[in-house]
Symmetry: C2
Subunit: 419 residues, 2 copies
C-alpha cells in the first residue's frame, strides 16, 4: 500500500528545493521553457490526444455528463489556445527582481520593494486539463514551483501534459520538480495538500463550490479562491438602450454556465417602459427565461415573478432576474446587499455616474458599458489566469503572473544604524 501522506510530503519537499532554484533563475530559461513546451505541444500532440482519448472513453463509460465530457476534451482548438497562451506568457516581461521606486530616507538609506516569487503554489482542481498547462506556465514564469492535484477523470491527460512540461524545464536547465502532478485523485490527497503548512505558500482551489469550501475549511495556509458570481448589470437613466440589450444578451447567453455570466438586470425606472420590451424580445430569441419584480411585471405581465431567492441565486443557466429601481442609490444598495464581489457593470452615458459606479461598487471587476464576460485573465490582458479571486487579500480578480509574486522590502545603506 502506498502511503499517500508521505508521498505527497516528499513531492512537496522536492518542490521547495526546486522553488529556491527557480527564484534565482534569470528570465531567459523561464521564457525558453515555456516556448519549448509550446513547441512540444505542437510536435507531440498525438501523445496528449491519445491520453485524452483514454480519459474520455473511461469517463464516458462511467456515465459522465455531456457538459463534463466537453470540459475534459482536448481538441486541436484547445491545443492552439494553449500554445498561443504559452507564447504570450513567455514573452511577457519577467516580474522577478523588479524594484519599485527606490526612495531615500533622511538618513540616506535607500528603501524599495523588490518583486519576488511566492515560492511553492499548490493547486487543487477538477476536470479541465488545459488548466494544468495554464497554471503551471504562470507559476514558472513568476519563478515558483507548483504542486498540482487534478481530477480523477483527467489523470492520463494531466500526466502527459506535466511530463512534456518537465522535459521542457530539464532541457532549459531548470529543475523538473518545479512542476509536479500528485498521482492521487481521491479526497485524501486534497486533505494532505491542506496540511502542507511550511511547504506550500498558497493553496488555490478551482472547481465546484463544494471543493472550494472544503479547501477553505481544511487548509492551514493562505487560500486564494473564488466565490459565486451573482453579477448585475445596472441600466442607468438616459442609457443607450440598444447597447444595454446587446451587452445583457452577451453577458447572459454567450456562456451561461461561467462565473462571469450575468444573473440580474437592474433598470432605472425612467428607462423601464422602453427598455423592458426590447430586453424581453432579445432574451426570448436567446432562449433566456426572465423573472421580474412587481414593477417589471407591469411592463412584462407574462413573466414569472421574482422572489427573494431569485435575487440571491447564481443560476449558471439561461435564466435572468430583472428589477426596476427608483434611483442609482437603490441599484448600488441592491448590489451591495446581493452581489458576490465578482463582476458588476453599468450602462450609462453620464460621466459622473460612471465614475461613481466604478468607485463605489465593491467587486473584483467593475465595468462601464461592456459585458461582464470580460472578467477573465486573457481578456483583461494578463496572458492567462490561474483563477479569479473574490476575496480581497493579495489578489482581487483574475490572477496572472503578477499575482503569483509578492514584494519584499530591500534597503541599501552605507553603514546606517538606528539611533
Amino acid at each position: 500500500m502506498i502511503d499517500v501522506a508521505s508521498q505527497i510530503r516528499e513531492m512537496a519537499t522536492r518542490a521547495r528545493q526546486a522553488a529556491r532554484a527557480m527564484a534565482s533563475a534569470p528570465p531567459a530559461p523561464k521564457r525558453d521553457a515555456l516556448l519549448r513546451l509550446a513547441q512540444a505541444l505542437t510536435d507531440s500532440w498525438s501523445e496528449v490526444a491519445e491520453a485524452n482519448r483514454a480519459d474520455l472513453e473511461e469517463a464516458a463509460a462511467a456515465g459522465l455528463s455531456r457538459a463534463k465530457l466537453d470540459r475534459l476534451r482536448l481538441d486541436e482548438r484547445t491545443r492552439d489556445d494553449l500554445v498561443e497562451g504559452l507564447r504570450q506568457v513567455a514573452h511577457m516581461p519577467d516580474p522577478v527582481g523588479e524594484i519599485e521606486s527606490l526612495s531615500v530616507r533622511p538618513n540616506g538609506l535607500r528603501v524599495g520593494r523588490m518583486r519576488v516569487p511566492l515560492g511553492v503554489i499548490g493547486m487543487v482542481y477538477e476536470a479541465r486539463p488545459g488548466a494544468t498547462v495554464e497554471a503551471s506556465s504562470l507559476a514558472v514564469k513568476a519563478g515558483n514551483a507548483i504542486l498540482l492535484r487534478g481530477g480523477k477523470e483527467a489523470l492520463r491527460s494531466n500526466r502527459t501534459l506535466v511530463e512534456l512540461f518537465r522535459r521542457s524545464l530539464k532541457q532549459t536547465g531548470l529543475p523538473e520538480d518545479a512542476v509536479q502532478l500528485v498521482p492521487h485523485t481521491d479526497r485524501q490527497a486534497v486533505v494532505e495538500m491542506c496540511r502542507l503548512v511550511g511547504y506550500l505558500d498558497v493553496l488555490i482551489p478551482r472547481g465546484g463550490e463544494e471543493l472550494i469550501r472544503f479547501v477553505q475549511e481544511h487548509a492551514r495556509m493562505p487560500v486564494l479562491a473564488h466565490a459565486r458570481g451573482v453579477n448585475h448589470l445596472y441600466v442607468d437613466e438616459g442609457a443607450d438602450l440598444e447597447m444595454a440589450v446587446r451587452i445583457a444578451v452577451n453577458a447572459k447567453a454567450q456562456r451561461p454556465a461561467t462565473c462571469n455570466a450575468l444573473e440580474k438586470v437592474l433598470v432605472h425606472q425612467t428607462v423601464a417602459p422602453d427598455l423592458l420590451p426590447l430586453l424581453a424580445r432579445a432574451m426570448a430569441e436567446a432562449r433566456v427565461e426572465l423573472r421580474g419584480c412587481a414593477r417589471t411585471r407591469e411592463h412584462l405581465p407574462h413573466i414569472r415573478p421574482a422572489t427573494e431567492a431569485d435575487w440571491e441565486a447564481e443560476y449558471l443557466d439561461l435564466v435572468l432576474a430583472v428589477k426596476v429601481v427608483d434611483s442609482m442609490d437603490e441599484a448600488l444598495a441592491h448590489i451591495a446587499r446581493y452581489g458576490s464581489n465578482h463582476t458588476e457593470a453599468i450602462v450609462t452615458r453620464d460621466h459622473a455616474r460612471a465614475l461613481r459606479f466604478l468607485r463605489e461598487v465593491d467587486a473584483s471587476l467593475v465595468l462601464v458599458n461592456a459585458s461582464t464576460r470580460f472578467n477573465d485573465g486573457f481578456q483583461l490582458g494578463l496572458g492567462a489566469e490561474i483563477g479569479i479571486s473574490t476575496s480581497k487579500l493579495h489578489a482581487y480578480g483574475p490572477m496572472g503572473v503578477r499575482e503569483l509574486t509578492t514584494t519584499k522590502f530591500v534597503a541599501l545603506g552605507d553603514g546606517q544604524v538606528r539611533t
Copy 2:
C-alpha cells in the same frame, strides 16, 4: 449577563455599514479626522493620562512585570510620537481611487486596477495602547473601518483613545463606527472575532507567539501575522570590519527584545581572524553574551559553544550566536534553513554579491550595509505600521496604509461584448 457573541456581531455589523461610507469618503475628511485627533491628543492629554494612570495602578497591583508596565505607559514622549505619526499619516497621499496604468485592449476596452479599501479590519492585540492610535489611523486613512480588541491591562487607556478618535471622526462628518473598541478582553472575545467571516475582511493579531498561533488556528478569514525574527548578519569577504561591528552591536543591543533585533552573525572565513576579536570586544562592552561554532571558538576560545538549538533560537535577549562559513553559498544556505523570513542583512563592499544577497535571500526586509533594526514601518517611510507580515500573501514586511488596501479591476468600454 451580556451575550458577548451577539454584542461583538452587532459591532461588526455597524463596522460594515461604516466601511461602506468610508470607502466612498473623499480624501479631505479622512485627513482632517487624523489632524483633529492629533490636536485632541495635545489638548485633552490629561484625560488619556488619567485613564492610563488607573490602568498602570491596577496592573502594578496585579504584579505585572516591569517590562510590561513600561509598554503600558503613555508618557509625554509617547504622546509626541503619536501626534507626529498622525500628522505624517494625515499628509500622506490618499491611495483610494488611484488607478494604475489604464491599458487598452485590442477591442478598445480600457483596463486598469483601482486601489480600494479592504473593508473592515479586525485587530487583536496585547498591552501597548499606542498601537490603538497607530492602527486606527492607518485604517481610516486607507478608507476602512476597524474593530479593535485590545488587552485587559490597557482597557481604560484604549477606551479613552478610541473615544477621542470617534469624536474626531464625527466632527469631520465620517461615521464614528469606523473605529470601535470591543469592551471584552477575555479569550472568548478573541474566539468571537475569529468567527466573524463575512464581517471582517482580514484579522491582524499582534502580541506574543501564543496569541498569534491561537488566531491563526481559529480564524476563518485571512490573517496577516508575523512570525519570530531569527535574523542574521552575514559579514562578507573583504567587508569593512568596523562597519560590520557597528551594525552588529546596534542590531543586537539597541533594543534586544524586538522582532527586528539581530540573533546570529555569519562570518566569512577570510575575515574571521580579524573580525572576531573586534566583535567580541564590542559585544562585551554592550554586555552581549556570545556563543560560537567550533571555528569561531578557535579565535574566541572563552565563549560558550553554540548548539543546534542556538541556530534555531530567537533569544530576544543580549545573546548572539556566531558561525564561521566557508563561502557566501554556505551563508545563504544557512539563512534559507534557519532564517524566519523576517530581516536579513549583509555587510559587503562587493557590488555583485550585494545584489545576489538582495535577490536570493527570502525575507520581508533584506538589507545591505545597514542595521536589521530598520525593519519598521516608520523607519522605512510608511509613516506608521499596523504590524510586520512574514507570510508572503498580500503583504510581506511592515504594513502601512497601502497594505490596508487592495486593487480591483476596472474596465471602460463603449459597448464591447465577447465574441
